[in-house]
Amino acid sequence: MLSEWPPELTAALPDHLAGQRWYAGAEAPAPESVRVASSRRLWSGGDRHELWQALVLAGEDCYQLILGVRPAGEPAEFLHGHDTALVGVTDGVYVYDATWDSELAKVLLEVITGGEEKPERARPMTAEQSNTSLVYDERVILKVFRRLQPGRNPDVEVTTALAAAGFTHVAAPVVEWRDEQYDLAFGQQFLAGGTEGWALALTSLRDLYSNSDRSVPAEAGGDFGAEAGRLGLVTAEMHAAMHQVFGAAGADRARAGWEALLDGLPSRLERAAERTGRDLLHAAGPMLERMRAVTDPGPAFRVHGDYHLGQVMRTDMGWYVLDFEGEPARPVEQRLAPASPIKDVTGMLRSFHYASRYALVERAVAEWSHMIPTARAWESHNRQAFLDGYLGHPGIAHLLPDPAVSPAVMVAYELDKALYELEYELSFRPEWVAIPLDALERLVEGKDQTSD
């Protein structure tokens, strides 16, 4: 149907890109112009449909489009409610995002596995932000990368390395699809029956918050403590495996990373203070002093980097860890930089705080004030359970800073994370600013994260 990329479609691409959730920042304006760097037909179904791939340059960024082509006429049922999936109509055909087309989605897996996988069914995952994932026969999940980065994709790299090293809490790799420059897609075992840790934590919190007579999290029906403990243990196993696979950075590099982190804190605090009207920097003085006094921040190695409840999945086989891509808003070199495993630990602890507040915001404003102690109690209980599980791993101690400086390192990473969150929320979700701000205020005042 299409012999080559129709140039008239290129003009439709800026609007198409801007309509996609995975396009640089959901609210970003459409790029002024784009260039099709390459396009190729992946598969042809004769007159009925075709599967195409196009790599599109928009400014600095390269995006991957997986496109379907069908004869013009009534658009198929799968496009109902997904108007933004349509790229355009040209020359007797319409061109659209093929990940919504279950027939072509099946073809995609077959093509990239060289015919080894012949799925019977495909469905798109709906919740995703920065990539597009397709589930095949509830058995294989294919993550199609959208915003391509030159070189190895960190998620593919880490997941395959951990799986090869015998770490069983990542979904087993099925297929890697790459060209000379980019990782294009990554197929893994689909974690059937799995639920995000975030959803599980909210289940626990909703149960707790709706109890009329009880506010002790450990005694509530939906207690999350045992899950948090098991998650802590899996996290320690992950760190032991990452340390084994990627090795530790030299002490100089570890110290340099630590110092870079510390150097950035005052200006970031100042910026946060300006934008929120809170005096964060002044209050943080003594705490920053304590951090400055830490000369040996402990081992640094490749860590998960963006570790939170949305990156872990509870399954019938226990907890699994997903998405080793680092924080999406940071530049790649920062994402891959060696860090203390404390970075991941505090990431998860911050996530417990987020969950406890998120579930609170779901409720009537009038309830908030008297429920905040309950929220704190849930956070505290699960922080402790997670840390008990984590520190209970026999091999974890030598990967951590000296216990004498551990609290300062922990606060530094927690502060780093909370500042990152604040910056993110100010940019994208101002209504959530109160959550990282609450954490920042507790942190700079040197309060225990779960006291009032």
Binding site: E77, T195, L200, T203, E219, G221, A226
Partner: protein, 563 residues
């Protein structure tokens, strides 16, 4: 009666405490004749098979599990003629009967043991496991940790120690002695000749002992069960052996053998997991135990239950879960029994009918044959002050009349007092009142059993858990490719596979779910209780909302006129 050889695969069992069911002769204790007179009720309810607790001669120091004569009925229950009549009358109503049989040990009052203990040379000297010291087999755990210090007890008469895995008044038979092995098969033959449809074999893992092992699940024990099964299959086809082996499913599965040992085994750990899932409002306690439940031979079946005459069995859960179950259900230390909790279903769920219905809906739709416990169909309560395990063995509550309609004896003569408290007492909870009330729990139960009977898929179908984002919702599909459907009189004759979708909300809060049903695209879900058709399954996830603790069973059918 369902004539199929594998009738037990789709049967609903009903556990009866003869002593507590109905008193036919007015002496204050339930009996076989009393049970016979209540068979019409059980037929009305819709159960397929009764499981009787031991009815043999016994000093009753362990609820009849201490048998002192395998050939005789306990006189309080009646005589052999009563047993024959019960079996015949039950069979007339399409109901089968299996009975408990304790193979592992006898009462110390059994004449075999009395003879055996006399000296080391008598004819029965080697019928029990005797030893000069108490050090042999020291790797075997002690099961009744609350009461027993050792598996050996010294007998001063014979001057030796005898082996017992349970109470010290229950010496273990010595299966290495061929006479014992043969005699116990004679015992089985005797009761099968009288018409029993099978046995629930108590404590099977312990028949043999070998030094250097934990004396459980030994190859010799399996060998003996194969011998017993062969006997049953050749002389009594269609009778069933149900093994009690309270262990993890991957260990229990060996008792099915290659469908040449027991046809049924209890699935113990799924039961506390059901309670835990509802408490935690998430499906993982259930799905992870089902995921680690191995396949069983096609002719076999699990026996699953919510409650029975013993405590809520916690031997199988991890320490952490056991602590949790204790903290949750046993606020009163009296409720702790060995490693378990002695409560009936209704008090366990705070008498919340929604939860009781949900748990039964799970039980009736999980892989396995459900086993009900007498009285749970009317949501009877318990009396935790009665001591030992009697709290859940109080008289069946038939009516608001004297003695709960259970017996015409004087109140003081009753084997146990019926419940009389304002919530669970027989004035409030009884069969008569619930039969008159169409919205009662009893009628709900009867309706569920009717629906279940129409779908052999519940007994024999495959089981596939669906992946949902919402952890509080458990959804699964049961599929039977070639169902042997009950005969239809008139109406539409159905063909094709029997597919049932079950969706359960384990939460006290209303929940949504998006079900990945693409595999069944084009089919129409029909709700089984009311036969209401739901919208056709399309290409997109199937959206459904669930009230707190609610569930749906849908049959997935092709729409009229084809897809």
């Amino acid at each position: 009666m369902n004539p199929a050889k594998n009738w037990f695969q789709s049967a609903v069992f009903y556990e009866v405490l003869v002593r507590g069911f109905y008193d036919g002769n007015g002496d204050g204790t339930g009996d076989l004749a009393g049970l016979t007179s209540k068979l019409d009720y059980l037929q009305w309810l819709g159960v397929d098979c009764l499981w009787l607790l031991p009815f043999y001669q016994s000093p009753l120091r362990d609820g009849g599990y201490d048998i002192s004569d395998f050939w005789t009925i306990l006189p309080e229950y009646g005589d052999l003629a009563d047993a024959v009549e019960l079996i015949e009358e039950a069979h007339k109503r399409g109901i089968r009967i299996i009975a408990d049989l304790v193979m592992n040990h006898t009462s110390d009052q059994h004449p075999w043991f009395q003879e055996s203990r006399l000296d080391r040379t008598n004819a029965k000297a080697d019928w029990y496991v005797w030893h000069d010291d108490d050090q042999l087999y020291d790797e075997a755990r002690i099961i009744f940790v609350d009461t027993e210090k050792s598996n050996w007890t010294f007998d001063s008469q014979r001057g030796q120690y005898y082996w017992h895995r349970f109470f010290s008044h229950q010496p273990d038979l010595n299966y290495d002695n061929p006479e014992v092995a043969e005699t116990m098969i004679d015992v089985c033959r005797y009761w099968l000749d009288i018409g029993l449809d099978g046995f629930r074999l108590d404590a099977v893992p312990y028949l043999f002992e070998r030094e250097g092992t934990n004396c459980e699940n030994l190859p010799e024990t399996h060998e003996y069960l194969r011998r017993l099964r062969k006997e049953v299959d050749s002389l009594y086809p269609g009778r069933v052996l149900l093994a009690e082996a309270n262990q993890w499913p991957e260990d229990v599965v060996h008792y099915f053998g290659n469908d040449d040992e027991c046809q049924m085994c209890f699935h113990f750990p799924v039961m506390p997991r059901m309670f835990m899932a509802v408490r935690r409002e998430q499906r993982y306690p259930i799905t992870e135990i089902l995921a680690r439940t191995p396949e069983i031979p096609p002719g076999c079946q699990w026996g699953i239950f919510l409650r029975n005459h013993d405590e809520l069995t916690l031997e199988m859960v991890t320490d952490e879960e056991r602590d949790y179950m204790w903290a949750e259900y046993a606020k009163d230390p009296r409720m702790k029994r060995n490693i378990g909790i002695g409560r009936r279903l209704a008090p366990l769920v705070d008498n919340d009918r929604r939860v009781a219905e949900l748990l039964h809906a799970l039980l009736f739709s999980f892989p396995g044959s459900p086993i009900l416990y007498y009285g749970d169909e009317i949501a009877m309560g318990d009396n935790i002050y009665l001591g030992d395990r009697d709290g859940v063995r109080t008289p069946m509550q038939w009516s608001p009349d004297r003695n709960a309609g259970f017996s015409t004896a004087d109140f003081a003569q009753l084997y146990l007092p019926p419940l009389m408290d304002p919530v669970y007492g027989y004035q409030a909870v009884n069969v008569e009142a619930q039969m008159r009330n169409p919205s009662s729990f009893l009628h709900w139960m009867k309706r569920m059993l009717e629906v279940r009977r129409q779908h052999p898929v519940f007994g024999k179908g495959t089981f596939e858990v669906l992946t949902l984002e919402n952890p509080s919702v458990l959804a699964y599909v049961r599929t039977l490719e070639e169902p042997d459907r009950p005969a239809q009189e008139g109406g539409i004759v159905k063909t094709g596979p029997d597919i049932v979708l079950c969706v359960c909300n384990l939460s006290k809060l209303a929940q949504p779910a998006e079900l990945p049903l693409q595999k069944w695209e084009g089919k129409v879900p029909i709700e089984l209780m009311g036969r209401v058709p739901f919208p056709r399954i399309g290409e997109l996830p199937y959206f459904i909302t669930l009230a707190p603790y609610s569930f749906y069973w849908f049959e997935l059918v092709d729409p009229p006129g084809g897809a």
